[in-house]
């Protein structure tokens, strides 16, 4: 890619990582019918993946500044509370889903999209650190986007979204990555100073979404030990996955 300007390269790399998110929908190609219990366990897996991802975001943000990361988390929590309130007042329909289900579907896409903003900034600033590492970083982020697509699909698919829609919304949720990676790369100093807030924001939004929306439902319909095991195993798995891949 030596003929291309670095800006285009950063964008293309960001785009590749976004497309990887769509792969997360794949496991749902093999699921035909969805019982309430399966929905609960899908929620449990999504919860664990998001908790694990938040762990990575906070520990990355803490390298820049722990207090600013936590301040960002407070904003993220407030963002989700605000979004819940807005969605709560409306009659929304998503495909065949309505009411509570439709609200969760909109919320997960919203939260995961917003969290990609912070990741896009992280990619851009990482690229500015050294071009030789670029490919490595891209592969790492692309790989770690796959379980995020899985988390989104785990919420959308059991509520009636088609496989294509799951993949599509997964990719959509990662589009801020290429879009934000470029300005972050170009104006790295300015973006670096807001990065801990952004990472904290993403983590706060995801953790609240898990605690207030996904986890209660995982316990309502699922057998408790199974739900708890799925959540914990997915959390630990995601942390190790992100840390070492």
């Amino acid at each position: 890619m030596s003929g291309l300007s670095p800006v285009v390269v950063v964008f293309l790399y960001g785009l590749a990582t976004a497309l990887a998110t769509g792969l997360g929908a794949l496991p749902f190609a093999f699921v035909r019918t969805v019982s309430p219990r399966l929905l609960a366990y899908a929620n449990a897996v999504a919860s664990g993946l998001m908790l694990g991802a938040s762990f990575g975001l906070v520990s990355e943000g803490a390298d820049y500044g722990r207090v600013s990361t936590l301040a960002g988390a407070v904003l993220g929590v407030m963002f989700v509370l605000g979004a819940e309130r807005l969605l709560g007042d409306r009659e929304i329909e998503v495909g065949a889903a309505r009411g509570e289900d439709a609200r969760k579907m909109v919320l997960i896409v919203l939260v995961m999209t917003v969290h990609s903003v912070a990741e896009g900034v992280a990619i851009g600033t990482a690229f500015a650190g050294g071009a030789t590492l670029a490919a490595l970083i891209t592969i790492a982020i692309a790989v770690h986007n796959v379980p995020e697509g899985l988390a989104i699909s785990a919420v959308l698919r059991p509520r009636g979204a088609s496989l294509a829609a799951c993949a599509g919304w997964s990719v959509f949720s990662s589009l801020p990555q290429p879009l934000l990676a470029v300005p972050a790369y170009l104006f790295v100093e300015a973006f670096r100073s807001v990065l801990p807030y952004g990472l904290g924001f993403a983590a706060g939004a995801m953790v609240l979404m898990v605690l207030a929306e996904l986890l209660p439902e995982a316990f309502d319909e699922g057998r408790r030990p199974v739900s708890a095991l799925l959540v914990t195993a997915a959390t630990v798995g995601m942390v190790l996955f992100q840390q070492y891949l």
Binding site: L70, P216, A228, T232, A233
Partner: protein, 243 residues
């Protein structure tokens, strides 16, 4: 003070928080369920926050040992539920419970002391003030537990004072394991990542399977979510300050 005495002091202090849970029972027959829900949410947040800060100390090396340790930690707690027959217990009903159920909680609590003890031990190894923070964060969940026990064991004719005593006694295993892991782990090469994984996996599973799963039925889910996340943030913030 000798480091090991610090470990002894604070893990003992953590074991002795149970009497706080029976204080409200002196004036009323049982504690409102919502209070227990809030306390469980705070305790879950403190526990998840502790799991986070402990994991942060050890996350840069030996992924395979950490993962294996975490699986052991999760498996251990899961097994204690199987053994004590409390896997599906419902803490929302406080009245008219079989006292046997109360003793099962005590038994379970004793077994869980192992996870909490190892967590305190490895945190103390990292840094003493950091370990003190983790010990205190661990201690919070003893309070709602003792409140539930006090309500349940009343039907077996046990007063609040004796219930608190039993709860403290059940927690003493954590003091032992805190000291053992503090002394033994540094002496055995390669054991630290196992111990960190064990503590992190166990604490996470404990918080989710026992504390949060109950709390959602005991108070509103948004209140529970907010209290939990505030408690997590509190421990993460303090964990950064003390270490």
């Amino acid at each position: 003070m000798e480091p090991v005495l610090v470990v002894l002091l604070f893990s003992t202090l953590a074991a002795f928080t149970a009497p706080l849970g029976v204080i409200p029972l002196r004036r009323r027959r049982s504690v409102p369920v919502a209070w227990i829900g809030w306390a469980n949410a705070l305790a879950a947040g403190f526990m998840l926050g502790s799991a986070y800060v402990i994991a942060e100390t050890g996350l840069h090396a030996h992924p395979a040992k950490l993962a294996a340790g975490a699986l052991l930690g999760i498996g251990y707690i899961h097994l204690t539920h199987r053994v004590s027959g409390t896997g599906d217990l419902d803490l929302n009903r406080l009245d008219g419970m079989d006292p046997l159920y109360g003793f099962r909680i005590l038994f379970l609590s004793g077994l869980h002391g192992a996870t909490e003890g190892v967590a305190i031990g490895v945190a103390m190894l990292h840094d003493l003030p950091f370990g003190i923070l983790v010990a205190l964060a661990m201690a919070v969940h003893n309070v709602p537990e003792a409140a539930v026990l006090g309500s349940v064991l009343r039907s077996a004719g046990l007063g609040a004072g004796r219930t608190a005593g039993l709860a403290v006694a059940a927690n003493l295993g954590q003091v032992l394991l805190a000291i053992v892991s503090f002394s033994v782990v540094p002496a055995v090469p390669g054991l630290l990542p196992w111990a960190i994984g064990f503590a992190v996996g166990g604490l996470t599973y404990l918080a989710i399977s026992e504390l949060l799963s109950e709390a959602y039925g005991q108070a509103g889910k948004r209140t529970i979510a907010l209290m939990t996340i505030v408690a997590i943030g509190f421990v993460v913030l303090l964990g950064g300050i003390v270490s």
